[in-house]
Subunit: 479 residues, 2 copies
């Protein structure tokens, strides 16, 4: 019996138009990555499990797809034989077939059935790459990487089990000019995508640490920032309630009050923060970093984006040590962040290379796609594929047509010959319909008569207009 | 303790130059696919196991990477509890911890631990796609697909566990014009890659069937073709020996004799085959098909490739039903086939859509890469990335430099600012060395003096020559 075909939940097929639109976004991002001096790398889809496990927290570990070993063997101690442990063999063992020893062995064996796992993000493989190839790399190393990642997340609208990440990172320098350039890079990419009016929100982990210090909640940094991060969603009162629940003192919450009413532009907010954090060395350091970035960006000017300070921004706090970025779509578009990133000071130490500061940003391909779709910003030519279809009236005509098709192709015109001959009016109509449904704008009719005179009848499928042309004229119209 | 980082055997990291070279090949192939009217699709990296299993023979099944289920639960009948079955939990169960029931359950459970598997090739997912989306597809459907596939093969030189396939197929037409166009497509791609002089070998399954019929070995078709396929490698005598060993009669082998001495061009060989296969209807049908293709190609002419008849060509015989293609590198280059394909008449019936003829070809990315490397055919500009590096002499100079870098980037010049300030001659030398090792051809020196006069000192890193330029002149040199 034939299977009813389907794909695993959380995964997607992409048709020609979807591939074209996704490529458009990725190529635009890639072009700016290169203009900004980033170099591409690619890493394997699966890594050794120990490279990935323990890097994303317990929840992350649970979401990593593990790959079954293949070609290994299960050693049966009692009978002193090796049993192939491919999944089929395991399946074929019924409970009665296996001895107790085998069962125990099988159980122990489960700890050995998987040694590889699918990439969960591009950052950890990048850290592994940097350490493994450190002798071949010039530092600071500016790399970009655009590859799929996999997460065993519960699939839901806009969340998939396979999706692309588009990352650019620099490792090996602490210079804040890199933060400045990443703000410019976001601006350059979204401007090139004609997605104008995005907001690049920026914060600094040091400011969050400083605030925690000032309110005497250094030990509650994560609780504190998790609550603060919700300000937009649940409002001031609920945030305070949550903080109280987490044991932050009333005195501390009072000290926080100015944070809730931070107003004005970047510079104004910075001034307020300076007074709030006046007693915190680390807080003032964070302010200094933000000021440097803001001054540089004000000086250099952004094309279409806006840089905005957002002291509630946290994003995977444990990870970032300096700047934190997040990009939101233009006002009026309901969509989570379409990009994010930040500085992490010690990513590669897990692989044996300490003191290597890194900073990077990521683009959310799927969400950018949805935003461009909603705002109708994909180029109108994106669904265009083949420019001209030659109708097939039989072998003799088709062979002559293929000669013309070949010459058109050599001139880079996307051209097709319908493969089967139309021996009736109905079949010819079928070929015309094929052109229509494929969005092919021109059709060439090359029947017996046209063959004799070597003249091509070109039909514009939009206007319905027909003209008779010699080959060179045909080429000129189609080029 | 830090882990010593490594990647799973049979997988690869690609550095910037390797990514650039691979992209060059893939973009060249993709451009020709599009010019020939093929449309891109993409399918998920993993499919439901039942989509893949049983499609590639026993050996193929064994080589499919299976993915462990995640987030499932193991039901302990005795204690009536659910035990999370993530691999960590399985690991933590020691033999003493589990009851006999649990062990049996665990054993049965192994048949349920994997429901998904990594794509083994692009053809079966394509067949699944065609059936699943048949109502949204215009037939004949010309699709291309360039994505990685995974095989648990024993890694060896030039054979990897993760590699890209680049496929173009048409389904839904039996027209031989498609075979003609695929020969042209091979020619167009290899010509565009400047890899001139490849040989496109062609055969037809019907000819192989005809020969088997003529020598009375229809039931030994596979044994017979496997032996014949080795003619190049082991020579005539050994092939005959193998055939005898497989039970092909002496009389049959005598009838085969003319095959071993097939001489001349395509047309001459066709004439010989006609007399050998004069009594086989299917054999004569195969000859007719080959003649059609050869006549069309002779008429249309190839740019740089040669079409050659090779009656020993078999390639996955069970799969192909008509034309069989294989491409070999230009003479003098030691390399297996760099492409292959053929016609398969009933691929989609396994998924419930019978009578859908397909024909397609594939490009061997890794081998093409090696051939282009050996013949030095990659464009010399391929390793060029960043065009100009601005030396960093401190924040003030760097901010001014970044303004110039920004303007250069907006004019699509790949430009970088070294992120850290050089406060000593040694550090400046480090920045120059960085440019050298990164193959950056120009460096801009923008010190205190240059800042005052707003003039840029441009140094050509190859010639060593230096010139002082205003911004517009600088842009002109770098553009």
């Amino acid at each position: 019996m034939a299977q009813k075909p389907s794909i695993p939940k959380g995964t997607r097929d992409f048709n020609a138009e979807e591939v074209a639109k996704r490529s458009y976004i990725m190529e635009t991002i890639k072009a700016q990555f290169q203009i900004f001096g980033f170099q591409p790398i690619e890493t394997p889809s699966f890594e050794n499990s120990e490279t990935l496990m323990g890097k994303y927290g317990d929840e992350g570990d649970r979401l990593i797809f593990k790959i079954l070993n293949s070609g290994n063997f299960f050693y049966d101690k009692k009978n002193k034989i090796e049993i192939p442990t491919s999944i089929e063999n395991l399946q074929s063992l019924s409970a009665e077939d296996v001895t107790t020893e085998q069962r125990i062995e099988l159980n122990q064996f489960t700890s050995q059935i998987s040694e590889k796992a699918l990439r969960y993000d591009l950052t950890v493989p990048f850290a592994r790459y940097v350490v493994q190839h450190q002798n071949d790399i010039e530092f600071p190393f500016k790399r970009y990487q655009m590859q799929p990642v996999w997460r065993a997340d519960r699939p839901q609208k806009g969340r998939f089990r396979e999706f692309y990440q588009c990352d650019a990172d620099v490792v090996g320098s602490k210079s804040l000019f890199q933060e400045v350039e990443f703000v410019q890079l976001y601006d350059a990419v979204f401007s090139a995508l004609k997605l104008e009016g995005v907001t690049i929100k920026i914060n600094n982990r040091k400011i969050l640490s400083g605030i925690a210090e000032v309110i005497g909640a250094q030990d509650k940094l994560i609780d504190f920032t998790v609550a603060l991060d919700k300000l937009d969603k649940i409002g001031e009162e609920k945030v305070k309630e949550e903080m109280r629940g987490k044991g932050i003192s009333e005195d501390g919450i009072t000290k926080l009050q100015p944070l809730f009413t931070l107003k004005g532009d970047f510079g104004d907010q910075i001034e307020s923060l300076k007074s709030i954090l006046s007693t915190s060395e680390i807080g003032l350091k964070g302010i200094e970093e933000l000021e440097f970035i803001n001054t540089a960006i004000s000086n250099l000017k952004l094309k279409t984006a806006t840089l905005q300070l957002d002291v509630t921004l946290a994003r995977g706090l444990n990870y970032y040590t300096g700047a934190i970025f997040e990009v939101s779509a233009p006002e009026g578009v309901k969509m989570g962040s379409i990009g994010g990133g930040g500085r992490y000071d010690d990513l590669t130490s897990i692989f044996g290379k300490p003191d290597t500061s890194g900073v990077g940003i990521s683009f959310g391909l799927d969400r950018i796609y949805l935003v461009l779709e909603e705002l109708n910003l994909f180029p109108s030519t994106i669904a265009e594929s083949t420019k001209v279809l030659f109708i097939n009236f039989g072998d003799k005509e088709a062979l002559f047509s293929l000669g013309a098709v070949t010459k058109l192709r050599q001139a880079n015109v996307k051209a097709e010959l319908f493969p089967d001959a139309a021996v009736s009016g109905k079949q010819m109509k079928k070929q015309m319909n094929y052109a229509n449904r494929r969005n092919i704008p021109f059709v060439v009719i090359m029947g017996e008569e046209e063959l004799k005179s070597e003249v091509f009848t070109l039909k514009n499928m939009v206007s319905g207009e027909q003209q008779k042309l010699e080959f060179n004229a045909l080429l000129n119209v189609l080029k």
